[in-house]
């Protein structure tokens, strides 16, 4: 083992896609002495446990702006990072059930179009043409953006990891952050299970453990972590469902991966916030019913695996970005509420700019955690 790293220009807590993207982007801006701490193996947390969708179909101006930027960045990512990420842009079909959701999504498409996103309403016939396996006679409407899609969450995270290593970033896995040292209102270092690192900058990218890490610096976040379960099937012939299917009142997201496997999940009832990544038969049964109803051909398809991951939730389901009040050098990139994977290609660069002392190229001050104390929530209707 190499000599212990005693100091760094910045320490990032968490090796998920947010942490790895930030590490790469900091190094790209010239902050080369960056250390990423991971208490388990690389990408062992929520990044690899999500649906890995990427979309610009949102219901707030801010998310439309971020969503469009992240799409553009994803489209250039393989070339930039030099490793495949299996980006697949089969589009997203948003399915509305009931007139209320239909009107909401119609309004959102109006906003999206004004912001340069080429989403549109589909007829039922068009929806079934784009997703041949779809049954949705009970749906009230369909909305679609063909550039939306998904990528491999592991490969994306590892692509950032490899690129960051090439730029000199140090990754320390099986190394847990146990404390953050603050001296006269400034970050001074971190304590870990293997030793201390002196550093003027610490970034909380701890995903499901964001609130525990924030507490180490004396910050109380209103976040909670919520377990979301997913199932995946054996591979079947591709073409049953090329786009992601998503519904907020229907409470599902379902997509077919390039290898033919179909993956799907939904939001849990209540708040299973015990931090365990366990699985239940109730979810398996409920999700099987959604699958077979939406895609009747899946009745004969076998489930091969079930898993869960933590969504780090905030009161308005929007991330928390920025530097902590009263603690210079302590930054937060947390609370992504289920859309941290897709946003990583843009929030990594934005946070890197902020930490580097620049004005971020897309404004993010409205995402500071003080918005909760002020009551300035940014309510987003489009979250599963």
């Amino acid at each position: 083992m190499a000599e212990w790293k005693k100091s760094a220009d910045a320490v990032i807590i968490g090796s998920g896609v947010q942490g790895c993207s930030l590490a790469y982007n900091l190094a790209k801006l010239g902050i080369k002495d960056v250390v990423v701490l991971e208490k388990d193996s690389l990408c062992s947390g929520s990044s690899g446990r999500c649906g890995a969708g990427i979309r610009a179909q949102w219901g707030t101006e801010m998310n439309c702006r971020l969503g469009l930027a992240c799409l553009e960045n994803f489209e250039n990512l393989e070339e930039e990072l030099g490793m495949k990420i299996d980006l697949h842009q089969g589009g997203y079909i948003m399915i509305a059930y009931g007139d209320k959701e239909y009107q909401q999504l119609k309004q959102s498409v109006g906003l999206q179009n004004r912001m340069g996103i080429a989403s549109r309403e589909l007829s039922r016939e068009e929806a079934c043409e784009i997703a041949p396996g779809l049954w949705a006679e009970d749906a009230a409407g369909f909305f679609y953006h063909d550039r939306d899609g998904h990528a491999d969450p592991f490969l994306t995270t590892y692509a950032y990891h490899e690129a960051a290593k090439r730029l000199g970033v140090t990754f320390l896995k099986f190394t847990e952050c146990t404390g953050i040292k603050v001296d006269k209102g400034r970050v001074a270092g971190v304590e870990t299970t293997r030793g201390e690192i002196d550093t003027p900058v610490v970034v909380n990218c701890a995903g499901g453990y964001a609130q525990q890490v924030a507490k180490m610096a004396g910050i109380e976040l209103p976040n909670y972590s919520e377990r979301h379960q997913i199932i995946v099937t054996e591979p079947v012939e591709y073409g049953l469902c090329p786009p992601m299917l998503m519904s907020f009142t229907g409470n599902f997201y379902i997509q077919q991966r390039p290898n033919g496997s179909i993956i799907g999940g939904c939001s849990p009832e209540g708040h299973p916030d015990d931090m365990a990544n366990g699985n239940t038969w109730e979810f398996l049964e409920k999700m099987s019913r959604k699958f077979t109803r939406l895609l009747p051909a899946t009745r004969e398809v076998r489930v091969v695996r079930q898993w869960s991951g933590q969504y780090n939730m905030t009161p308005d389901k929007q991330p928390i970005l920025g530097e902590a009040d009263g603690i210079k050098g302590f930054y937060l990139s947390v609370g992504y509420s289920g859309h941290g994977f897709m946003f990583a290609t843009i929030t990594g660069p934005l946070m890197a700019e902020l930490i580097n002392g620049q004005e971020p190229s897309i404004p993010i001050e409205m995402l500071h955690y003080r918005r909760f104390a002020k009551g300035e929530l940014i309510l987003e209707p489009a979250v599963v």
Binding site: C43, L155, F291, R299, E300, V301, R302, V303
Partner: protein, 93 residues
């Protein structure tokens, strides 16, 4: 004679060779879970039944960690593939 063991297909479900596994272990992806994430070993229909032990031994050999100390990776339900139609019909209501 050139060593041909790199061409052995260790993971039949996802067609992963010993050479690929060795390449990624050498890059520092030295747990089964990490290899699973980057190569998809253990994600196919056999869920690692056919390849896990071989891969764990290779990790042990390349890292010098005793076999008994190599983390076996995470096991996930269901233990056998089950048809969605059967699951959808099951249970109450």
């Amino acid at each position: 004679m050139a060593d041909k063991s790199n061409e052995i297909v260790v993971c039949r479900c996802e067609e992963v060779t010993m050479g690929e596994i060795r390449e990624w272990i050498a890059k520092g992806y030295d747990t089964f879970d990490e290899l699973k994430r980057v190569l998809r070993v253990g994600m196919g229909p056999c869920q690692g039944r056919g390849c896990r032990d071989i891969i764990l031994r290779e990790i042990s050999r390349m890292t010098g960690t005793p076999y008994s100390e190599v983390p076996p990776g995470t096991f996930r339900p269901p233990s056998k593939p089950v048809k969605l139609g059967l699951l959808a019909e099951g249970g109450d209501d």
